[in-house]
Amino acid sequence: MKNKNNILLIFTLCFGIVSVSAQDILDILDKELSGQKFYTQATFKANRVLLGQSVETRKKGVLEFVLGTRYWNIPNNENGQSFAADRFSAHFGAQYAFTDRFTFGAGITTWDGIVNSFAKYRLLRQQDNGKSQLGITLVQGTSYFTRNFLGFQLPNESSNRLSFVSQAIIARKFDRNLSLQIAPTYIHMGSEQPSLDGNQDFFSLGFGGRYKLSNHVSLVSEYYYTFGREEGPEGFNLFSLGVNWEISDVILQFSMTNSKSFDDVANYTLIPNNFNVNAGRLHIGVNATYVLHFNQKKRANIKSKK
C-alpha cells in the first residue's frame, strides 16, 4: 500500500513538473536567447557624416557611387545674372567595401580639381550588450591637387602636389537616436602654402554627431578645430549642418557648410571664410549616395525546404 502511494507520488510530481504552460516555455526560450552579441548598426548612415569621414563603413561587397553638389554665391556680385547660384561644384566618387572592415574609395571634384582617395579600416566595432562600448576606425587619405584655386597655389614639382590626412575616429552610439564621434586628425600638406603661412603639418580635432529625427531622417553636424593657426587669416574651421535622408538604396545628404571642397585636406585647412548665411559664406549642397550590393548569394544562405 505504501509502495503504491509512493509510485503515485512520483507520477504526480513528475507530471507536475512536466506540464508547463506556453508562457513557461517562452521564459525558458528567453534564457536560451539572451547573451547573443551583435555589432551596433547605423552609428552613422554613410561613409561620411557630411563632409568628413564617419566611423561607419559598408558591409562586404557593397559598391557606392557618390554624386555631390555644392552651390554658393559670390559676394558683391554686380551683374546678378546667375540663376539660383553663382558658383557650382560637383564631386564624383566611388567606394568599395572589400571586407566588413576595410573600405577603399576615390573621387574627383570639378571646382578645385582635387583627386582624392581614402582607405578606411575598422579597428574596433561597438557591440550591443557586448564588451566593446566604442567603435574605432582608422582613415588614411591622399589628395592630389591639380590646379590653383582660392587659397591654394599649385607647386611646380608634381611630388609636392600630394597631401595626406590620417585620422583615428572614435565613436559611440549612445542610444537609438544619438551617436557622437571624435576624430583626432593629422594633416600633411605637400607644399608650403602662403595662405597657410608656410605651415605644412597640422593637427585637427573633429567632432561629429547624428540625431535620429524619424526612422528615415536624421540630423547631422560636424566641426573640425585645427590647432596652431590663427583662425581668420590662415583659414577657418570646418562647420557643417545637415540632414541625412534614406530612400531605399539611396542616401541623400543635404548640407549647409562653410566649405567649397569635397576633399578632406582642403576641408580641414583651406577654408577661407567663416560659417554664416551671407553671400559667399553659405554653401548649400546635396550628396547622393547610391548603394549597389555584390555577393548577395553568399550573404543570403536561404534554403528553401518546402
Binding site: L26, E32, L33, F38
Partner: protein, 181 residues
C-alpha cells in the same frame, strides 16, 4: 535508507520525464519574403529557438530580429533600424497550442496551431497549419503563413510603399531534439 531510495527514484524519474516530454531546437529556420514588382526582399534566420511540450501540445518560438540575414546588407540595416525597430523590440515570439491535441498529434501529418504572435510590441492571434514529420526521437515541423505588415504597427513611408509587400510570407522549418537543461 528506504527514504533515500525513494528520493533517488523520484529525482531520477523527475529528470527522465522532463527530458522525454520537452523537445527543443536552437537552429530553427525562419525565412520571410516580400515580393513586389519593384523589388524582392528575402531574409533568413537560422538561429530560431523553439520548444514543444509533448505532454500537452504547447509550443513556444522565439527569435532575435537582428539574426535575420538579408541578401542586401543595407536592407538588413533598414529592417532593424527603420521598420521592426529591433533596438526597442529585439525579439519576436510565438506561443500557442495544437488545436484538438491528442495522443496522435505528433504522428506524421498535419496539425493546426492557435496562438499569439508578438512582433514590434503588438500581439495578434494567428492560426498556422503545420506539417509534422516524426523521426522517432526527433520531430520536424514545417509550414508557412502570412503576416500583414499593417497589423503590427510597422510604418512604411508612402514613397517606399511600392517596395514592400502588404502581406509578408513566412516559412519555417524546425527540427527538434530532446531537451536537456
Amino acid at each position: 535508507m528506504n527514504k533515500l531510495v525513494i528520493l533517488f527514484f523520484f529525482l531520477h524519474f523527475g529528470a527522465f520525464c522532463q527530458t522525454s516530454n520537452r523537445i527543443i531546437t536552437r537552429q530553427g529556420q525562419v525565412s520571410f519574403f516580400s515580393y513586389t514588382s519593384v523589388e524582392d526582399i528575402e531574409a533568413t534566420n537560422n538561429q530560431v529557438h523553439s520548444i514543444v511540450d509533448k505532454s500537452n501540445g504547447a509550443i513556444g518560438v522565439s527569435m532575435l530580429l537582428r539574426a535575420f540575414i538579408f541578401k542586401k546588407s543595407l536592407m538588413e540595416e533598414h529592417f532593424n533600424e527603420s521598420y521592426v525597430e529591433s533596438d526597442i523590440y529585439p525579439k519576436t515570439n510565438f506561443s500557442g497550442k495544437i488545436v484538438d491535441f491528442n495522443a496522435d498529434s505528433f504522428n506524421d501529418g498535419i496539425v493546426f496551431l492557435k496562438g499569439n504572435l508578438e512582433l514590434h510590441g503588438v500581439q495578434k492571434e494567428i492560426d498556422i497549419k503545420v506539417k509534422i514529420e516524426n523521426l522517432g526521437s526527433n520531430l520536424v515541423l514545417t509550414g508557412d503563413f502570412e503576416v500583414p505588415v499593417a497589423d503590427f504597427n510597422i510604418k512604411v513611408p508612402p514613397l517606399l510603399a511600392p517596395n514592400i509587400a502588404k502581406v509578408i510570407q513566412v516559412m519555417f522549418r524546425f527540427e527538434y531534439e530532446p531537451y536537456e537543461e
